[in-house]
């Protein structure tokens, strides 16, 4: 593993009742890149990132994070190691205030000034004015931003975003672009995304998944030119 690699998987596999959701995946994420994960529905994208974040266990294969084997590590410890996951379906504490939602992401880091850190994360997504609102009362777009703010406040080395732009308006997506760009190169972003415009705009590298296997990995240009990808996905 070279020093530029943040995370890599070797032959990572997870089956569900005989369905090969993730089937021998080798993936490598570089320090400070925006890496997109694309593929048709059912390709195994969400299963793959669930394996990376520890929400589900791998059946075989290995996951290395900063050179360390984390395959058997529970999810909450991976978060503290620097792997943050934002949910595809918004998962916020609907009954708590916006501030408390983000404060929970900050608390275990025991920073000198926790409140300042919370506000900084809220400012990055533009929700500082909503700090005392009850999270469940926010608009859908703002709830997505809050979810993102919680991910940012974890101060991750790797931020996994599972379909972050789903259901957002065009204007909100523009704001989202800027936020994701601001994360790199200090940290790495792994982005699952259906919106091809967003992927082509943001990603430095793209991995295409199909039927649980890696079909291709490369720059956006390489992926666009790849015939197998065109056949399986882009040309559908």
């Amino acid at each position: 593993m070279d020093s530029m690699t943040l995370l890599e998987t070797h032959d990572l596999t997870r089956h569900f009742d005989g369905i090969r959701a993730v089937d021998g995946v080798d993936l490598s994420l570089r320090q400070g890149e925006i890496h997109a994960l694309i593929g048709p529905n059912g390709a195994g994208k969400t299963t793959l990132v669930s394996l990376l974040s520890g929400r589900i266990r791998a059946q075989s294969g290995r996951i290395l994070f900063q050179g360390r084997d984390i395959t058997a590590m529970p999810a909450h410890r991976r978060v503290r190691l620097g792997i943050a996951y934002t949910f595809q379906i918004t998962q916020i504490y609907r009954a708590l205030t916006v501030f408390d939602n983000v404060a929970l992401a900050v608390q275990w880091q025991r920073p000198a000034n926790a409140a300042a850190m919370v506000m900084e994360a809220l400012e990055r997504v533009g929700l500082q004015a909503e700090r005392d609102a009850i999270a469940g009362t926010l608009s859908y777009g703002h709830q997505r931003l809050l979810e993102l703010a919680m991910g940012l406040a974890l101060n991750p080395r790797l931020l996994i975003l599972d379909e972050p732009t789903q259901g957002l308006a065009e204007s909100e997506i523009a704001r989202f672009d800027a936020i994701v760009r601001s994360v790199v190169p200090q940290a790495t972003v792994l982005l699952i995304e259906h919106n091809m415009d967003v992927v082509m705009r943001l990603a430095q590298r793209i991995t295409v998944l199909d039927l649980g296997r890696v079909l291709a990995t490369g720059t956006p240009e390489e992926i666009r030119a790849n015939r197998a990808v065109q056949a399986a996905y882009l040309g559908e």
Partner: protein
């Protein structure tokens, strides 16, 4: 801590003291009992109200404290404070032991598992009747109920000690509720998966909460044994698992003062009802059904929702 939160809780404690001075003697024994039960409800609230652990087996922790303190006082010549201390230690230890098993389940399975363990404990007390005298119970002699030279059998002393123990428990609950741990407990209640993905271990958080809850319940049990001088199997029966649930539901789950309010309200509701009918179980049952149907947030919880979000 903001001033109004501090003053609300200090005020509640002062009101209890004032009640002792102002109310006729009839209420003194009642109030001592209410405060011991309110300690129990406060402990239950840490698990159920804040962490979302709906246990049907807290009589196990209350009973562990009751018998740890009661048997110590009855059979050994150890000083009263040691017997009292045995209560929370036993309650906490049993809660941690039970939690290490039961917390592998959730929801309905957790309710049944806790119910079963408490039932086994109740049966064990009956089975060990040679030492516990089962349902008949043990009456602890006045000489064994001394705490630092204070005679716990005396009505006024009993009230003040119950008050002091309740104050201690309430302050502890307030500190827990406003601490980082309290916030994580609420986070587990609200959304466990989200909390896990923010870096918190659900199992450990719940185990700590259950341990604290068990220690408070055990303190209540120990205080009951020494203050009222009686330990019996019926105090560890399933009814005593339901009581704190009822108090907390009525007063407001997840509020610091809710358990006290619920205990006072329920106690006097049953007291009033006994003037009309001897059917106090009917009051308990109807209260449970009506609360869960129409006011699941309880008295203080409803007030907090409508008027005062700052109530911890």
């Amino acid at each position: 801590m903001t001033a109004r939160i501090l003053w609300t809780h200090v005020g509640a404690l002062a009101a209890l003291l004032a009640a002792h001075v102002l109310l006729p003697a009839y209420h003194h024994g009642n109030l001592a009992r209410i405060m011991v039960l309110a300690i129990y409800a406060t402990g239950y609230n840490i698990a159920f109200g804040y962490t979302g652990l709906l246990s049907l087996g807290h009589a196990l922790f209350f009973g562990a404290g009751l018998y740890a303190a009661g048997l110590t006082a009855y059979y050994t010549g150890l000083p009263g404070w040691l017997a009292l201390l045995a209560g929370p230690v036993a309650g906490g230890a049993v809660a941690l032991a039970l939690g290490s098993f039961a917390l592998r389940t959730a929801g309905v399975a957790f309710m049944i598992v806790t119910l079963m363990f408490a039932q086994a404990f109740h049966l064990a007390i009956l089975y060990l009747g040679r030492w516990t005298r089962g349902d008949e119970g043990l009456v602890i002699a006045r000489a064994s109920r001394q705490l630092f030279g204070l005679d716990l059998a005396d009505g006024s002393v009993r009230f003040l000690v119950a008050w002091a123990l309740f104050a201690l428990t309430m302050v502890a609950a307030l500190i827990i509720a406003r601490s980082g741990l309290g916030r994580v407990m609420v986070a587990m209640r609200e959304n466990e998966e989200r909390s896990r993905m923010l870096g918190y271990d659900p199992y450990m958080t719940k185990l700590i909460a259950l341990g604290l809850s068990g220690a408070m319940s055990g303190l209540a049990g120990g205080a009951y044994a020494l203050l009222f001088g009686y330990v019996g199997a019926s105090l560890a029966s399933v009814q005593y698992s339901i009581l704190p649930l009822l108090y907390v539901l009525l007063g407001g789950a997840g509020t610091v003062l809710g358990p006290l309010i619920g205990t006072v309200a329920m106690f006097y509701l049953i007291d009033l009802a006994s003037n009309v009918t001897d059917a106090h179980q009917l009051v308990t049952g109807a209260a449970l059904v009506l609360l869960i149907l129409f006011a699941p947030r309880g008295i203080l919880g409803s007030i907090r929702d409508r008027f005062a979000r700052w109530i911890p």
